[in-house]
Amino acid sequence: MIEIQNVTKSFQKKTVLENISGSFEKGKIHGIIGRNGSGKTVLLKCICGFLAVDTGTIFVDGRKVSHACPQDIGIILESPGFVENMSGFRNLKMLASIRNRIGKEEIREVMEKVGLDADEKKAVRKYSLGMRQRLAIAQAIMESPKLILLDEPMNGLDKSGVAEIRKILLDLKENGITILLASHYAEDIDLLCDTVWEMDNGKMVCDKRNEECNI
């Protein structure tokens, strides 16, 4: 599904990704761990085409990620933002209208799935951190993309919210969707991920806790 070959990415003089390689198989949840600033977000941004790599190549579904974003991908990167004065439903409707694959009913369903009320008229600026995160997850999964990149998706969620989202992610995996999950929470990684990668000093290494990484 994702093939990373000798990728290097630097910002000015700081090398964030240093000649990293690896592959992420289809239909699995792949965890990426590492301390703050270790390059997890940069790697996800390179995979979705928001950042151009300095050297090396990334393939998603056999297609090289270059000047265009890969098709059929859902993301949550850093702190999710929305049009603050619109309701959650209207935000999702606006985003869904770009690909035009799903209608109002599907948006309602996905909002209910993540624990949000689609009929709620409240503007997003009045949402709690947890509600914003749920909305961000809804936008990432609503069009059933083949690949989902999630950067700290459990941020701001309470215990029950975390449990609900974990269940959703496992359901998505059952449906053959590939998920890359960058998280600080060891429990998420242990419970959800089929493979775990650790980012450290610009390097990406297969974590000891599994034997499935393909380097």
Partner: protein
Amino acid sequence: MHKFWVMQKCASANFRNWAVSPKIWIITGVTAVFSIWNLSGVLEYSADTGIRVTPWVFPYFFSMPVMYLVYGFLTIVLFSEAPFRNPLSDFMEIRTGKRMWIAGQCLFVVEAAFLYALVCFLITVICLLPRIYVTGQWGKLIQEMVYGGDTGPSGIYFSAQVFEQYSALEAVFYSLLFLWLVSAFLGMLILASHVVIGKNAGDIVAGFFAFLSYYSMYVGSMTFGNGIFRVSPVNWINIGTLLGSKFDMPDKYYAFSFLVIGIMIFSIIGIRGYERKPM
């Protein structure tokens, strides 16, 4: 058509953010304050003489040189964040693709510039409301200001050439057109510079053009003649600087072509640059 619609979605998302953006309200407020100040003399003159004023003062509105600086500063503030990346942009861009997203930002610049021009015009009309009367003609008060023998009581220069060359509605139309195009030109210049060179580069380049317009009105035109107006697009928001070769000035066709070609070139540079070097 579908591509245009996707671009429009990206532009619309930016407009939706305006409602909660303090910057937009500050720009509108400052524009209103300067409009009241700029038009106060006209209103006083109208009150003193008892002659009501038509809504067509707008073509003379930017004749006072300091207004170029005010306009330039506000336009730079309006477009200073181009290409307008915010956390929502990630969700948009992953769906539209990079090219469509940045093209949507270019479309937003053009549309926002049009709205800005329209708001500037409407604010002048609102400021004149206490002494207004509506007719399709220039009206007696503006005629008196044009031929009054001085630059008018307000500091606004009522150009006889503009008065004679255009009907009131034509002059308003061209003033709106050039205010729109110059704003779009500056916005696109800022966007392209930010994408290709880096943060703040566009503000500096646009700031240069704003100062050039002020300079052109004084030292510039005295030193280099009216020909300096050919390279100073910000001056063209005042159609009194587009009187043609008879006055050794650019004409409206030259200005129109310059601005439209400039907007197209900067948008291509911005789009190509963004595709190769994401923000």
